[in-house]
């Protein structure tokens, strides 16, 4: 049982890392959307291993099902491929090196922070985070943010419609 579960865990982690690499590195934007989808599938598996199956379901539903599909639609409407560099090659390469240095420094710092000292053993908990517990927390402790999120989503939908409508006839 345990070796199989460990293998699945390693597979999920590798999917997440590979998806993130594809999303960050590939030159064509449609490939990086596919990388994002792969990364989110792996993340859903990791959430399952962290004993939050509801979050795993929501990750697949929202990120793979909504966010990636919406980005794919936007790619079909615009021409988003990375253009050939028009600035001097020297400047572009220097900018890339700077981005690499910043990313590597962040990675090293965060890794040394999170792996540098031993973590305490997980505390015993009174209950598991079941769907019922999440629903109860959403409707009691977090009811105000919950309502605010629904308001934000409504405003975002209306705003997106309004912004995308303007200039439609001018084009």
């Amino acid at each position: 049982m345990t070796p199989i579960a460990e293998g699945i865990f390693v597979l999920c982690a590798a999917m997440t890392a590979a998806g993130a690499l594809i999303a960050a590195l590939s030159r064509r934007v449609i490939r990086s959307v596919c990388g994002l989808a792969l990364c989110c599938l792996g993340l859903a598996g990791l959430y399952y291993f962290l004993r939050s199956p509801f979050l795993a379901l929501m990750e697949v539903l929202i990120y793979v099902g909504a966010v990636c599909v919406t980005i794919a639609f936007a790619i079909m409407l615009a021409e988003p491929d990375e253009p050939e560099a028009r600035t001097a090659r020297q400047v572009s390469r220097r900018w890339g090196a700077l981005a690499l240095v910043v990313g590597a420094a962040l990675l090293a710092g965060l890794l040394s922070l999170s792996l540098g000292h031993p973590w305490p053993a997980p505390a015993p908990r009174p209950s598991e985070g079941s769907v019922a517990a999440i629903g109860l927390a959403l409707l009691t402790t977090y009811s105000v943010p919950f309502e605010l999120i629904s308001l934000v989503l409504l405003v975002a939908i209306l705003g997106a419609l309004g912004i995308a409508r303007t200039g439609r006839h001018a084009a």
Partner: protein
């Protein structure tokens, strides 16, 4: 103790996701590429929330509720950002970030 019952792999993976997102955000020249890199950063934060909630916090539902809020905000952000991208493409025929320099003094 097996690999998936320790916080270190999750935290290392979250750090990697964050670094990849920052690298992509700096490296990309199109708006949609930057948006995808931003989503990677959101994912890193969510993974950190769930992992620390699982291993360090006594209340089991708290981190999951936070990640649900992050997902809702990310969905709203993507909707707004993509409609801005479409509007920009209609006006400029390009979504390269360097070309949107009309307000430069």
């Amino acid at each position: 103790m097996s690999l998936y019952d320790r916080p270190e792999p999750y935290l290392a993976l979250a750090a990697f996701l964050f670094a990849a997102g920052v690298y992509g955000l700096l490296r990309r020249r199109t708006l949609i590429g930057m948006l995808i890199a931003g989503e990677l950063i959101f994912s890193a934060a969510s993974l950190n929330f769930v992992a620390l909630n699982r291993f360090a916090a006594p209340e089991p539902a708290q981190g999951q509720v936070f990640v649900l809020f992050i997902m809702g905000l990310a969905a709203a952000e993507v909707a707004i950002a993509l409609s801005v991208v479409i509007a920009v493409y209609r006006n400029y025929r390009s979504i390269e970030a360097d070309e949107l320099a009309e307000l430069r003094g």
